[in-house]
C-alpha cells in the first residue's frame, strides 16, 4: 500500500505567448500511492486540470512541460517518445472526463465502444472482448448489462453514462486513474453513487486515483489526501481530515470558510452588513410597498412542451414540464426553489416573471393584476420594470458587443427613469452599488471575470428599480469564494431595498443560506414547500430527505463510505 505509483517533482507547465509566457504550474510536487485517492482542489485557473493533462501528455496546444519530472513506476514520462506515451495511455493511465455527454461517441453502441477499447488495449479477439465488456459494465453497476450493451449513449442517463465512461477508462486495466471533475455535470443524488464507485474500484484493484475537482464536499467524501492549489502553486497538502479540519494556511481556511453550510444558516448571509449608497433613494423612488398581501400568486399552473415524436406529418406529443396547484411569494420574502436538473424549476421561475407563457393556469401580481390581463403597452412596461431576472451564465447573459455603461443605460432610458444628462452618473452609482469601480462602464463585458460579470448582471436588473427578482442559479457558475460574495451582495440588496426574491438553485446549501421558505421540485411537481428551517431540519418528504442525505458535505460522511466499500 505504500509504494509510490506516480510522482511529480518540481513540475512546471508553460503556455508560451507572444506577450510573455504564461506559467500555469510553478514547480509542483505530488505523490500518488497505490490504493489511495489523491484530491487536487483549487478554484478555476489554479492549474489543477493542467497537472492531470500533463501527466497524460495531453496538454492543449501550445502548452508544454518546461521543467521537472513526472514519474510513473519510477520511469520519467517526459523522456518517452510520443508513440511510447500513447501506448501508456489506457494501459497504464486511465481518464474520466467531466462531461459524460461528450466523452462517448454518440454513433456507436456502448458495448461496441467498450469492446473496441478492450480488444485494442489488451490484444484480445473481438468476441472475447465483447464478453469482457459485458462483465465490465456489470462491474460498474449497470443493470442488465448484456442487453444495455446494444444501446447508444443517449439512451443512458447522466449517471449511467458516467459509469460507462469509468468502465471505458478501466478497459486497459490501468494503474493510475485521473478523474477530472467526474461528477460536476451530475445531479447530487447521482454524484454520490459515482464517487462511491470510483472509491470501490480504487480499493478493489489498488489503483492510484487523482481526483481533480473544485468541490470541497467531493474531496471530503472521497479523497484520502488532498493537495490545495492556487495560481499554479501548492498551498497546502496533507490527509483530507487534517486539511479540512485543521487547515494551516490562510487560503485553505478562507476557502473552507466560504463554503456555505447545509447544516445551518450562517449569520453573514442572514444578517448582512447593511450598506447604503446615494443610489438607494433612486432605487426606492416611486415605490410604495404598503400592502402586506402576497407579491405574486400562481394557481393551477402547468407548462407543456411539444416533443418530437416522428409521425409522417411532423411532430406531435407533449411533455409536462411543470404542474403545480399553486404557489405564492410574500412581499419581501425569499423563496428558494430546489430541484435536480429537468425538474422544471427554471421553467416555473420564468413563468412566475412572465417570460414563459403557461399552458394553463394563472399568475396574479398584487400590483398589476392577473398576468393574462396585462395587455396594454403601458401596463406591460410597468410590469417589466417591476420584475427582473439574474441568470446563471454570466458569459451569455451580457451582450458581448456592448459596453457596460450602454448595457446599463439602455433600460434606464427606455423606461424613462432618468434625465439624459444624469444617466452616466446613475450608471456609475449602480456599478458602485454592486461593488464595481464606477468607471467599469467604459469596458466591455469580456474584460471582467465571471464574478464581476455577475455583478454587472445584478446592476442591470436593478437599473429599472425592480421589486421582484428571479435569480436563476445565480452562483452555480462561480467559484466558492466568489459565490459567497455574490450571495452576501444579493442578501444585502434584498435587505436594503426590500426586494422579493425567487431563488432557483440545485445547490441545497446555497438555498439554505438565503431562503425564508423553500419549495422542492421533482418532475414538474412541488413535493414539499415549507419554511426553510423546518424543511432542512425535519424534512417530511422522502425525496427531500434523499436530496439532503446525498448532498456532499465538507465534513462527516467519509467514514460511512469507507465502511461500505470495504465490505
Amino acid at each position: 500500500m505504500t509504494d509510490i505509483l506516480c510522482k511529480t517533482t518540481d513540475l512546471k507547465v508553460t503556455f508560451p505567448h507572444r506577450l510573455g509566457d504564461f506559467t500555469a504550474v510553478h514547480g509542483f510536487d505530488m505523490e500518488v500511492r497505490r490504493g489511495e485517492i489523491v484530491g487536487l482542489i483549487g478554484e478555476s485557473g489554479a492549474g489543477k486540470s493542467t497537472i492531470g493533462n500533463a501527466i497524460m501528455g495531453l496538454l492543449s496546444h501550445p502548452g508544454q512541460v518546461s521543467g521537472g519530472r513526472i514519474e510513473l513506476e519510477g520511469q520519467n514520462l517526459l523522456d518517452l517518445s510520443d508513440a511510447a506515451l500513447a501506448r501508456l495511455r489506457g494501459r497504464k493511465i486511465g481518464t474520466i472526463f467531466q462531461d459524460p455527454m461528450t466523452s462517448l461517441n454518440p454513433l456507436m453502441t456502448v458495448g461496441e465502444q467498450l469492446a473496441e477499447s478492450i480488444a485494442l488495449l489488451q490484444d484480445k479477439p473481438m468476441a472475447q472482448a465483447r464478453n469482457m465488456a459485458a462483465e465490465r459494465l456489470d462491474a460498474v453497476g449497470i443493470p442488465d448489462a448484456i442487453n444495455r450493451m446494444n444501446q447508444y449513449p443517449h439512451e443512458f442517463s447522466g449517471g449511467m453514462r458516467q459509469r460507462v465512461v469509468i468502465a471505458l477508462a478501466m478497459a486497459g486495466d490501468p494503474d493510475l486513474l485521473i478523474a477530472d471533475e467526474p461528477t460536476t455535470a451530475l445531479d447530487v443524488s447521482v454524484q454520490k453513487q459515482v464517487l462511491d464507485l470510483i472509491r470501490s474500484i480504487c480499493i478493489e484493484r489498488s489503483l492510484g486515483v487523482i481526483l481533480v475537482t473544485h468541490d470541497m464536499g467531493v474531496i471530503a467524501e472521497t479523497a484520502d489526501r488532498v493537495y490545495v492549489m492556487r495560481h499554479g502553486k501548492l498551498v497546502e497538502t496533507g490527509p483530507t481530515e487534517q486539511v479540512i479540519h485543521k487547515p494551516s494556511q490562510k487560503y485553505t481556511r478562507d476557502l473552507i470558510a466560504s463554503i456555505p453550510s447545509i447544516e445551518c444558516c450562517e449569520e453573514r448571509f442572514r444578517n448582512p452588513v447593511k450598506r447604503t449608497g446615494e443610489i438607494d433613494q433612486w432605487l426606492l423612488a416611486g415605490h410604495k410597498d404598503q400592502s402586506t398581501d402576497d407579491y405574486v400568486t400562481a394557481s393551477a399552473l402547468t407548462k407543456d412542451f411539444a416533443i418530437r415524436k416522428k409521425t409522417f406529418w411532423g411532430t406531435s406529443g407533449s411533455f409536462q414540464a411543470v404542474d403545480i396547484p399553486g404557489l405564492s411569494i410574500a412581499r419581501g420574502e425569499v423563496l428558494g426553489l430546489v430541484g435536480e436538473s429537468g425538474s422544471g424549476k427554471s421553467t416555473l421561475g420564468r413563468m412566475m416573471i412572465g417570460l414563459v407563457q403557461p399552458s394553463s393556469g394563472s399568475i396574479h401580481y398584487s400590483d398589476h393584476g392577473p398576468l393574462a390581463e396585462v395587455r396594454s403597452r403601458a401596463a406591460r412596461k410597468a410590469l417589466r420594470r417591476d420584475v427582473q431576472v439574474v441568470f446563471q451564465d454570466p458569459y451569455s447573459s451580457l451582450n458581448s458587443r456592448m459596453r457596460v455603461d450602454h448595457i446599463l443605460a439602455e433600460p434606464i432610458r427606455f423606461h424613462g427613469l432618468g434625465e439624459r444628462a444624469e444617466i452616466p452618473r446613475l450608471v456609475g452609482a449602480l456599478l458602485e452599488r454592486v461593488g464595481l469601480p464606477p468607471d467599469a462602464g467604459r469596458k466591455f463585458p469580456h474584460q471582467f471575470s465571471g464574478g464581476q460579470r455577475q455583478r454587472i448582471c445584478i446592476a442591470r436588473a436593478l437599473s429599472v428599480r425592480p421589486r421582484f427578482l428571479l435569480c436563476d442559479e445565480p452562483t452555480s457558475a462561480l467559484d466558492v469564494s466568489i459565490q459567497a460574495e455574490m450571495l452576501a451582495l444579493l442578501m444585502e440588496l434584498r435587505r436594503s431595498l426590500g426586494l422579493t426574491l425567487l431563488f432557483v438553485s440545485h445547490d441545497l446549501a446555497v438555498v439554505r443560506q438565503v431562503s425564508d421558505r423553500v419549495a422542492v421540485m421533482k418532475q414538474g411537481k412541488i413535493v414539499e414547500c415549507r419554511d426553510a428551517e423546518h424543511l432542512f431540519e425535519t424534512p417530511e418528504n422522502d425525496y427531500t430527505r434523499m436530496l439532503l442525505d446525498t448532498a456532499p458535505r465538507a465534513s462527516g460522511h467519509k467514514e460511512a463510505i469507507n465502511l461500505r466499500s470495504a465490505t
Binding site: 417570460l355 406591460r380 410590469l383 441568470f391 451569455s396 447573459s397 451582450n399 474584460q447
Partner: protein, 300 residues
Amino acid sequence: MLERIRSDFWYELLNSPVTLASAIVIALMVIGCSFAPVFAPHTPFDPATISILDNNLPPAWADGGDPRFLFGTDLQGRDVLSAMLYGGRISLLVGIGAVALSVVIGMTVGLLAGYFGGMTDAVLMRIAEIQFAFPPILIALLFNGILKASLPADIFAQAAVPIMILAIGLAGWVQFARIVRASAMVQRNQDYVTACHAMGLPTLTIILRHITPNIVGPVLVLAMLQIAVAIVTEATLSFLGLGTPLTEPSLGALIQIGSQYLFSGIWWVVIFPGAMLLVMVVAFNLVADWVRDYLNPRLR
C-alpha cells in the same frame, strides 16, 4: 472584441505574409481603379485622345513596344492598362454593390426568419430555397433579359451598371439569409436576449441593437467571398455580351473583346485583363479565409 482587434489584429495580419500581400493587392486595385482617371496614363474611351496609328502595339518591353503603352494597345489603339483600370472600376463597383444589396436583403430575411421562427421562418425560407434552386447566373440572365426587353435601348445602356448590381445582388441574397438565420436562432436563445425581454425592450430594438452586432462576423466573411463570386459573375455576363456595353467595358467585356484576337498573336489584349481578374478574385478569397480564421479563435 474591440480589445482583441486592437492588440491582435495587426499581429495576426503581419504574421500571415500571404494575407498581407493579398490585402495590399486589394488596396492597390481599389485605389488604382477608384481613381482611374488620375492614375490611368490615357483616357481609353475618348475618341479624341486615341490614335488609330498606335493600334496593336505590343507591351512596352516587347519588340516594337512603345514606352507610352505599358501593356500595349488594342485594335483601335487604346491603352490596355488604362482600359483595365477603367474596367476594374466597373467590376469592383458591381461586385461590392451587388454584395451590399445581397447583404441587406439576406440579413433582413434571415433576421426575421431566425428571430420569429414558426410560420414566418417557414414561408421566408421556402422562398429562399426556391430561389436557391436556380443557378445565380441564370437569375441574373433572366433579370437582365427582362429589363433589356422592357427598357428602351439607350436607357438600358446607360443603366448597365445599376442593372448588373441589381441582377447579381438579387441572385446572391439566399446564402446571407441562411447564415444570418442560423446565427439569429442561436443568439435568440442566449440569456442576454432573454434579459432584454425581461426589460420589456421592443422587438426591433432587440433585433437591431442586440442581435445584429453579434452576427456580423460570419456575414463579413461570406461578404468577402461573395465579392469575388459577384465579380466573376459580372465578368461572365459581360463575356456573354449581356453585361456592360462596349463603350464602357468591364474586365469581363475586355476579356471578351480580347479573346477574339488571341489567335492572331495579339495576346496582350486578353492576358492582362484576365490576369487582373484572376489576381483580384484570388486576393479577395485569401483575405476572406484569413478573416474567418481570425474571427474563430479555435481554428488558430
